[in-house]
């Protein structure tokens, strides 16, 4: 009988916690995508408004700004942004469906695949056009 020391950090009142092994099902990954993209968009949005207003208000700088956006690194960032936006939206529509139209076991995975496909498709369209 060996003794393993485990660094568990268990709170007396709240008990043990889940780890990654409990988070392997697709619906959980949909949640992570939704939450991470939401945080990213919430942080980006105020910046988007301010930069847009500044650039348009000063037309001379707008074209300079648009030139800056043509850099590959910026194009990549923009594509990721579009991906985040469409992923968050598609995932959100899936949730609205589950909550208001009803939960059905048979199309859960289909709905997830659809949301992911739409998100990736739009991001690809954007990346190819840009």
């Amino acid at each position: 009988m060996n003794r393993d020391v485990a660094h568990q950090g268990v709170n007396s009142f709240r008990g043990r916690r889940n780890d990654a092994r409990a988070r392997t099902h697709p619906a959980y990954w949909a949640f992570i995508v939704h939450r991470v993209s939401g945080i990213g968009l919430a942080l980006f949005l105020p910046i988007h408004f301010v930069v847009l207003a500044q650039a348009i208000a000063h037309p001379a700088t707008l074209n300079a700004f648009l030139d800056w956006t043509r850099q590959p690194a910026v194009k990549l960032a923009e594509t990721l942004l579009v991906l985040a936006l469409v992923a968050h939206t598609a995932g959100g529509v899936r949730l609205l469906f589950i909550e208001f139209v009803g939960w059905r076991a048979d199309w859960q995975k289909t709905a997830l695949s659809l949301a992911a496909a739409v998100a990736l498709g739009c991001a690809l369209l954007f990346a190819l056009a840009a």
Partner: protein, 242 residues
């Protein structure tokens, strides 16, 4: 002494309370062995001080629920062959509940939340009244059919990350029971139950992880029940009934 010709299984079992640790045991491995068999072997032949719960051992009572290789399961219905990662098994008490000792948790918070969600039937008739007549094909009874089989084993509660992040979250089982009663035409609780489940720690806190639905040994979907509660509560708020 383990016979060297017998296959063995290495199992790590949580010992102690919140400040405890995993201890390793080597047990004989048999075909069709369940995790409950393994735990029972340790208690009966290796260390009689190991504390754990079980009752029916045939997948009906839910008493033997534990965390096996990170996922909440009924140990009597979990074959070692199906879950052992390599030759290693890890058995811990259910998550999100205070550990009494070893594999035994305090179920009181789980049932306290059941009560807080108004998970009890509120009768409106007496023995002198006629029986209620509920058509089995009615939409409400069919909604109940999908949720009524819950036996309160806490596997869903243990699996839910929102419970882990928000200690006061009512949790999937309590909310599933609330939804069952919301659909019971005989119940008289009405808007009081809707108020009980509508809170930052109530039904609106569910993020549709579906960990509960994934792990429920009775194949229920608390996610669907909670979505029903969200709808019912939203409609009540809009109508000014809440």
């Amino acid at each position: 002494m383990i016979d060297n010709r017998e296959p063995t299984l290495a199992v790590r079992i949580w010992r102690g309370d919140a400040h405890g640790r995993f201890e390793r045991y080597d047990v004989p491995r048999h075909p069709s062995q369940t995790v409950l068999d393994v735990v029972s072997h340790v208690q009966q032949h290796v260390d009689p001080t190991l504390a754990y719960r079980f009752a029916c051992r045939v997948g009906m009572c839910g008493s033997c629920a534990m965390t096996v290789n990170g996922k909440a399961r009924w140990t009597c219905r979990t074959h070692v062959d199906a879950v052992a990662a390599g030759e290693m098994l890890e058995v811990a008490p259910l998550n999100h509940l205070p550990i009494v000792r070893d594999l035994v948790v305090d179920m009181a918070p789980f049932f306290d939340k059941w009560a807080a969600a108004h998970g009890a039937f509120a009768p409106t008739t007496t023995r002198h009244d006629d029986f209620a007549r509920v058509a089995p094909s009615s939409a409400q009874r069919r909604a109940i059919d999908a949720t009524i089989e819950c036996i309160g084993c806490a596997v869903c509660y243990s699996s839910c990350d929102v419970v882990g992040w928000k200690p006061a979250y009512l949790g999937p089982a309590a909310l599933n029971r609330a939804w069952t009663l919301v659909n019971d035409v005989r119940d008289g609780e009405g808007v009081a139950r809707l108020r009980a489940v509508s809170a930052d720690d109530g039904c609106q806190a569910c993020h549709t992880h579906q960990s509960c639905t994934e792990r429920c040994p009775k194949h229920l979907s608390p996610t669907a029940a909670i979505a029903g509660l969200k709808r019912r509560v939203a409609i009540a708020a809009i109508k000014g009934e809440l």
